[in-house]
C-alpha cells in the first residue's frame, strides 16, 4: 500500500516532527517505509533514517506500508505529515 504526501510542518522532518512521525510509525505492526520523491525508501520506524533524509517543508514523500494495519498506519502518518507543527 502506497501513498504520496506533501510535508506541511515548517521545519520539515526534523527533531520534533520527525520524533512524532517515528513514534507513530513504531505503534503499528506493518513494515513502513518513507522515501523522498526521487530517493530510496528508508525504515519509517528509525529516527536516524528518517532525519537523515533531510525532508523539508513542501517536499513530497512516498509512504508505503505492508501488513494488517497498513491502512490505519498510512492514515495516521499522513495526518502527522500534514499537520502544522505547533498544533500537532
Amino acid at each position: 500500500m502506497e501513498r504520496t504526501v506533501t510535508v506541511v510542518p515548517e521545519d520539515g522532518l526534523h527533531a520534533r516532527p520527525a520524533a512524532s512521525f517515528v513514534e507513530a510509525a513504531g505503534e503499528y505492526d506493518s513494515e513502513i517505509t518513507i522515501a523522498p520523491a526521487d530517493g530510496d525508501a528508508v525504515n519509517a520506524q528509525s529516527m536516524l533514517a528518517v532525519t537523515s533524509l533531510g525532508v523539508a517543508s513542501g517536499d513530497d514523500v512516498v509512504l508505503t506500508a505492508e501488513g494488517a494495519d497498513a491502512e490505519a498506519a498510512l492514515d495516521a502518518l499522513e495526518a502527522i505529515l500534514t499537520t502544522p507543527e505547533d498544533s500537532a
Binding site: 521545519d11 520539515g12 526534523h14 527533531a15 520534533r16 520527525a18 520524533a19 512524532s20 517515528v22 513514534e23 513504531g26 525504515n43 520506524q45 528509525s46 529516527m47 536516524l48 533514517a49 532525519t51 537523515s52 533531510g54 502544522p84 505547533d86 498544533s87
Partner: protein, 560 residues
C-alpha cells in the same frame, strides 16, 4: 588586570562568580572491559532503560520551565535511543566481542559524522546524537554524572557548549551565570537562561578557553561580556543585581503606602516565573500568546482554561488580562491583516476587536466572564488596549453587556470582572475624566504612550533620544492619568518597561501609581526598592520632576 571577552548576551542580567569548567567529553570513559556477549547485551538493555528514565525526567522539567516546544527536543532523543539501526549496529559490535561501551561508540560514530557534514538543522542532529551517545556511555561505564544541579553557589559555568540535557539540570539558585564558546541567542542554552533568569553569554568563541578554573569573572548578559578578574567597582555593580531576597508578601513604603508589584506575562512559563519571583499578581497578561503558533484561533474553552489556571496561580492576587492586541508589529497568519502604510497608527488593539475581529473579541469576552465566575475569578481584571476615544470604550462595554445577556440566557455561569483602559494614546490622556467614569482602573502602557506622546518610533535608533519615558511631557501625562483616576475611584497601574526600571522607582511611587507591573526577574529588586522608599520623599521628587523642562533636568533630579 581585568580583561574582557565578548560574545552574545542571552539575558539582560549580570552577576559575579567563580569559574568552573564543564568538560563532559573529557570525563567520559573511553571503553570498558568486555564481558560475554550475553552480559554486554543485558548491560546495553539496562543502560537504555536508565537513559530513557533520565531523558523523560529532563523532558518534564524542560516542559515545566520553558515550554512544550523546547521540551520537544527530548522526544527526538528518546527516538534516537530506541532507533532500530543503532540497536542493530550495537548488537553487531557486541557479537564481535566488543564491550557495550565500545559498541555504542562505534554505532554512533558514522551517523554523527554524517550529520556533522551537513548544514544548519542537520548539524544540530549531530549534537542530539552526541548527547544520547554520551549518556549511554556514561551509564554503561557506571561513571558519575557531573551534577549540574548541585554546583556550589556562585558558580560561573564555562563550557564549549551546553546541550539540552545539560541546561535542563541547571539550578538558577546556584549558577550565578554561564558562558559558552558556541551557540547563539536562539540556542537551547540561551532560551533556558532567559526562562530561568540566569545571566549568560553565548558564542563567546575561543577567547574564554584560557580562563582558568577558580578565576573570578563577571558575566554581563546585557553587554554580552565576560569580564575576567573584574575590579571592585565592576564586581559590585554586577553583584548588586542578584542575590536579592524574594519577597512573597505585599510591600509598602517606609511610611506605609502599599504598592502592588506584578508581572507582565506573555507565555505560560512566565506565569510560573512570576510566582517564583514573588509577584503579587499579573499586571499584564498578553492573550496574544494563546493565538500565536497555530492555524486557527483558540476556542472559548481553551481561553477559559488558560485564564482560570492563571487566576489559580494567584489565589489572593489580581490578574489583569489584556484583550487581544494585534496589529502593528504582531501579525497572526490566520487573521486577515492587510498591509498598512503606518501600522503603528493603523488598525490595532481595540480597533480590530470592534471591527474585523469582532467575533474573536466576543469569544474572548465569553471566556473571560466565565473565568470571572471560576474559583479565584474575583481577582480578574480585563483591560482594552489602545483605546483612543470614549466611543470605543462604550462599544466595547456594550459588547460586554451583550455577551453577559447571552451567557445568562444560555444558563452559563458568569460574573462581571473589573474593566479598565490601557492608557497608551494622548487622546485617552485628554479624555481621562470621561473614561474614568466608565471603568474600574487604568493601566499605563508606557512604551506606546511614550511613542505617541513624543511622536517617535520605538524602532528608530536615530531618534531614540526622544523615546524616553522620563521626558516631562510623558511624566505629566502619567501624572494626569493618576490624578484623574484617583478622583474617580479608579486604581492606576503601569505595565510598560518604565515600571521595572529601578532608577525610576522612586519617581513612580511619587507620581502615585498603585501598581507596577514588569518582567518577573526584576520584581525582587523593585519590591526591595519600594520597601526602602519613603512615599513623602518620593512625592517631593515627583513634584520637582513635574516642574522640570528637559530630560537632563529630570536626570539631575534622579541622581541627587
Amino acid at each position: 588586570m581585568s580583561r574582557t571577552v565578548t560574545g552574545t548576551g542571552a539575558t539582560p542580567l549580570s552577576d559575579v562568580g567563580t569559574v568552573r569548567w564543564y568538560r563532559p567529553d573529557e570525563s567520559l570513559p573511553e571503553t570498558t572491559d568486555a564481558g560475554t556477549p550475553e552480559e554486554e547485551r543485558a548491560n546495553f538493555e539496562d543502560a537504555k532503560e536508565t537513559a530513557r528514565e533520565e531523558i523523560e525526567a529532563e523532558r518534564e522539567r524542560t516542559r515545566d520551565l520553558v515550554g512544550e516546544d523546547e521540551a520537544g527536543v527530548f522526544d527526538a532523543h528518546l527516538q534516537f535511543l530506541a532507533d532500530p539501526q543503532i540497536e542493530a549496529s550495537v548488537e553487531d559490535g557486541i557479537d564481535d566481542g566488543l564491550a557495550a561501551t565500545a559498541a555504542v561508540r562505534e554505532a554512533f560514530a558514522d551517523p554523527i559524522a554524517q550529520f556533522e557534514s551537513m548544514d544548519g538543522m542537520m548539524a544540530e542532529r549531530a549534537d542530539d546524537l552526541r548527547d544520547v551517545r554520551n549518556r549511554l556511555v556514561r551509564i554503561l561505564a557506571g561513571s558519575e554524572r557531573i551534577d549540574l544541579s548541585a554546583l556550589p553557589a556562585g558558580t560561573i559555568l564555562l563550557a564549549e557548549r551546553l546541550t539540552p540535557s545539560d541546561t535542563a539540570q541547571l539550578d538558577p539558585s546556584r549558577v550565578a551565570g554561564f558562558a559558552t564558546v558556541e551557540g547563539g541567542r536562539t540556542s537551547h542554552a540561551a532560551i533556558f537562561a532567559r526562562s530561568l533568569g540566569i545571566p549568560a553569554v553565548v558564542g563567546a568563541g575561543a577567547g574564554i578557553e584560557d580562563i582558568q578554573e577558580g578565576t573570578e569573572v563577571v558575566i554581563d548578559g546585557n553587554a554580552g561580556e565576560i569580564i575576567v578578574d573584574p575590579d571592585e567597582a565592576v564586581r559590585a555593580d554586577a553583584a548588586s543585581g542578584r542575590d536579592v531576597e524574594i519577597h512573597t508578601d505585599a510591600v509598602e513604603t517606609t511610611d506605609g503606602v502599599s504598592i502592588e508589584v506584578a508581572a507582565n506575562v506573555g507565555t505560560p512559563a512566565e506565569i510560573e516565573s512570576a510566582v517564583e519571583h514573588g509577584a503579587d499578581g499579573i499586571g499584564l497578561f498578553r492573550t496574544e500568546f494563546l493565538f500565536f503558533n497555530r492555524e486557527s484561533p483558540p476556542s472559548e474553552d481553551e481561553q477559559y482554561e488558560a485564564i482560570a489556571e492563571t487566576l489559580s496561580a494567584f489565589p489572593d492576587g489580581r490578574v489583569v488580562v489584556r484583550t487581544l492586541d494585534i496589529g502593528g508589529d504582531k501579525p497572526i497568519p490566520y487573521l486577515d491583516q492587510a498591509p498598512e502604510e503606518n501600522p503603528f497608527l493603523g488598525e490595532r488593539g481595540i480597533r480590530r476587536s470592534l471591527d474585523s475581529d469582532a467575533d474573536l473579541f466576543r469569544t474572548q469576552l465569553r471566556a473571560l466572564m466565565r473565568a470571572a465566575a471560576s474559583e479565584h475569578g474575583d481577582g480578574l481584571s480585563v483591560m482594552f488596549p489602545l483605546v483612543s476615544t470614549v466611543d470605543e470604550l462604550d462599544r466595547a462595554l456594550e459588547a460586554v453587556d451583550e455577551v453577559a445577556a447571552d451567557l445568562e440566557e444560555a444558563g452559563v455561569e458568569w460574573a462581571r470582572p473589573e474593566f479598565g483602559v490601557m492608557v497608551e494614546t494622548p487622546s485617552a490622556v485628554f479624555m481621562a475624566e470621561e473614561l474614568a467614569t466608565r471603568v474600574d482602573f487604568f493601566s499605563i502602557g508606557t512604551n506606546d504612550l511614550t511613542q505617541y506622546v513624543m511622536a517617535t518610533s520605538r524602532e528608530n535608533d536615530r531618534i531614540s533620544y526622544l523615546h524616553d519615558p522620563r521626558h516631562p511631557a510623558v511624566l505629566r501625562a502619567i501624572h494626569r492619568i493618576v490624578q484623574v483616576g484617583h478622583e474617580h475611584d479608579c486604581w492606576v497601574g503601569m505595565c510598560g518597561e518604565m515600571a521595572g526600571d529601578p532608577t525610576l522607582l522612586k519617581l513612580l511611587v511619587g507620581l502615585g501609581l498603585d501598581e507596577l507591573s514588569m518582567s518577573a526577574i526584576t520584581i525582587p529588586d523593585v519590591k526591595a526598592g519600594v520597601a526602602a522608599t519613603s512615599h513623602a520623599d518620593a512625592a517631593t521628587l515627583a513634584s520637582d520632576a513635574l516642574a522640570a523642562t528637559t530630560i537632563s533636568d529630570i536626570t539631575q533630579l534622579l541622581n541627587q
